[in-house]
Amino acid sequence: MVNVSTISGACFLVFWIGMYTYAAQSPFAGREGPISYDPLFYPNLLILGGFLLSLIVLIKGLRTKEITSKPGFRAFGVMAIAGLYLLLLKQAGFMISSFVLIVALAAFSGYRKPFPLLASAAALTVVTWLVFTQLLQAPLPAFPRI
């Protein structure tokens, strides 16, 4: 069975190959002159080192019977809620998005007491808003942009 080390080694290999291909297509690839002034000299060194190490991780993964946990449904759910919040914070506004985030994330993670949940979410949102806007003078988008 393929283990997580093998998969991660393979993912890193694909990453370094992708980076090398991208570097090879850049306008300053193959430019003549001293290596100290070559913008790709150092990145290519890193790509080579990364490629070799990924290969070692992949081979070691294939040779060992390592048991590692896999991300489950709950992990993807948590990531989806957090990701939506981070990407929509500016558009949806701080108040609504933060309140919804706390309620949704805590409920999804197994917290099942509606009144304390709603009260804590409202209090946390308002206190954070006050700390950032009044104490730290950091502007936040209060409500959705219409």
Partner: protein, 500 residues
């Protein structure tokens, strides 16, 4: 400036009401973060970093130092109360701290832990103040080849001693170095690896990467597989500091553990967890009652807590004197210094002597105010431990979002923190260490600049990098660090064969 003028100027910088509020607030916040299991100093300092963006230099740095030292101490409270270390560095404190609490000595255990933490923190700060300027003065003579070798050595050490295999550590270190390549080339000004995204031309920001890697990935890990919470005992705290006669009985352990913690803190990658276990083992080895260790011997608790707090000062020695961080937390502090227009390294002590002195005094003050905080907030930490984890981590996610948003109001930063969170979570699952990514990212520019500057100086002769004594020694040490597990394994096999 004379020595006295430097100290007066430093005191003026430190004793402003903003700096004092930031210092006390940071220390309180740090202890609270340390008390919460899983949220260690790295998460605390990375979460607080965005808050410091609008602050002056000294309040911002003292707040982060307060969080750093406070959270290392906070971990011991959880270890003593519920036998679960609040931070990994307090794991050794469970061994004797929890049995003391079970024996009805909860207040005494908390008092010993606080006193030992403060003692270790103060001794290491004094060593930092005495040794860092000397190291910086010596390092002033370093050229590009020495600086390059030093950065490579630090990264190799951290990658080698991190959890997981060496290959995984080195791979994540190179990944961190590569992330630092994105953006403009330091020598020609040409944009590299921006993938057609204009915002990437300025490179990736440190804060979203480290908040994502350390804080957000921790939230994902904890919420994806929640632990069953330990019951918090409802016995009264009765906090009590050790008396004079008790201190007389532990002063040798205090002194030895402070030295062990500071020395191991100076070495890159070792960290407070190893320091506390080494110190615990040494205290047990030299104790007159080694059989009582693990059954509530205060010496064990003192050894662990003194050493892990002494690491804070030790880890700052290479960070301030050489600009080379020894662990993720000092890497974050280094990033904070850079954001505040303070360039750590040999010239820092010449250019900003008053500022460095203010930082030393700030770290001393953090340790001193830990004593009243430990005593008067002891009952509150029990309540903090009762917070439902899903609710607490949802709040942390909100703080991550808001903190990163307020940096630049940038969608790229938000995407970066999310991507770093997901990558960090997946790397944790595959048992890759995360610290080398941050160290690599922080050291990336320094490594490239010194490599290419050295090539220019040595007329593109790569061999010149290996012909000087300091770089040669550092490369040799790097090789030993990388291959040490293989060498040790070989010796073990040979010994086993001989025994057979």
């Amino acid at each position: 400036m004379s020595g006295l003028e430097v100290i007066t100027s430093a005191a003026e910088l430190l004793f402003s009401w903003q700096a004092i509020i930031a210092l006390v607030g940071g220390t309180l916040l740090g202890v609270a973060i340390g008390v919460l299991p899983g949220l260690g100093p790295a998460v605390g300092v990375s979460l607080a970093l965005p808050l410091t963006i609008g602050m002056e230099q000294i309040p911002a740095i003292t707040m982060l130092l307060g969080i750093y030292a406070g959270s290392v101490y906070g971990g011991s409270v959880t270890a003593i109360l519920i036998n679960t270390p609040g931070t990994p560095s307090s794991a050794a404190s469970c061994l004797d701290g929890y049995p003391m609490a079970r024996k009805g000595l909860l207040g005494e255990a908390l008092g010993y832990a606080a006193f030992a933490s403060v003692f270790g923190g103060i001794v290491s700060t004094v060593i930092l103040a005495l040794s860092a300027p000397q190291l910086a003065e010596w390092a002033l003579e370093f050229g590009p080849s020495e600086m390059f070798a030093l950065a490579v050595f630090a990264l190799t050490c951290i990658a080698s001693v991190s959890t997981g295999s060496i290959a995984k550590g080195l791979l994540t270190g190179i990944f961190g170095l590569f992330l630092a390549v994105i953006g403009q080339d330091v020598f020609t000004g040409e944009t590299r690896f921006n993938f057609g995204v204009f915002e990437l031309s300025a490179g990736l920001s440190l804060v979203p990467i480290l908040v994502g890697l350390f804080a957000l990935s921790e939230v994902f890990t904890r919420l994806a597989s929640p632990d069953i919470a330990e019951a918090v005992p409802d016995t009264p705290t009765n906090f009590r500091f050790p008396g004079v006669s008790a201190i007389k009985g532990i002063w040798v352990v205090l002194a030895k553990s402070s030295i062990i913690g500071t020395f191991l803190g100076i070495l890159p990658g070792i960290g407070p967890t190893t320091a506390s276990f080494v110190s615990y083992a040494e205290a047990r080895r030299t104790s007159s009652k080694p059989e009582t260790f693990g059954q509530g011997n205060p010496e064990g608790l003192v050894a662990s807590e003194t050493a892990n707090n002494a690491v804070t000062g030790g880890a700052l020695v290479p960070t301030l004197a050489l600009g080379v961080p020894g662990d993720p937390i000092t890497a974050i502090l280094l990033g904070a210094l850079v954001i505040k227009d303070i360039a750590p390294g040999p010239s820092l002590f010449i250019q900003h002597g008053d500022l460095v002195s203010a930082l030393f005094m700030g770290l001393l003050l953090v340790n001193v105010i830990l004593l009243p905080i430990a005593k008067y907030f002891a009952a509150i930490w029990r309540r903090v431990l009762m917070l439902p984890e899903p609710l607490m981590l949802s709040g942390v996610t909100m703080l991550i979002g808001v903190g990163v948003y307020t940096l630049n109001n940038s969608l790229l930063d938000m995407a970066t923190v999310f991507t770093a969170g997901v990558v960090g979570y997946l790397l944790r699952l595959a048992r890759f260490p995360l610290a080398p990514i941050i160290i690599g990212f922080v050291l990336g520019r320094m490594i490239e600049e010194n490599l290419r500057m050295g090539l220019i100086v040595f007329d593109n002769d790569v061999s010149a990098f290996f012909l000087r004594p300091i770089p040669l020694t550092l490369y040799a040490l790097s090789v030993v660090f990388v291959f040490w597990p293989l060498i040790a394994g070989m010796f073990q096999r040979r010994r086993a064969r001989k025994q057979v």
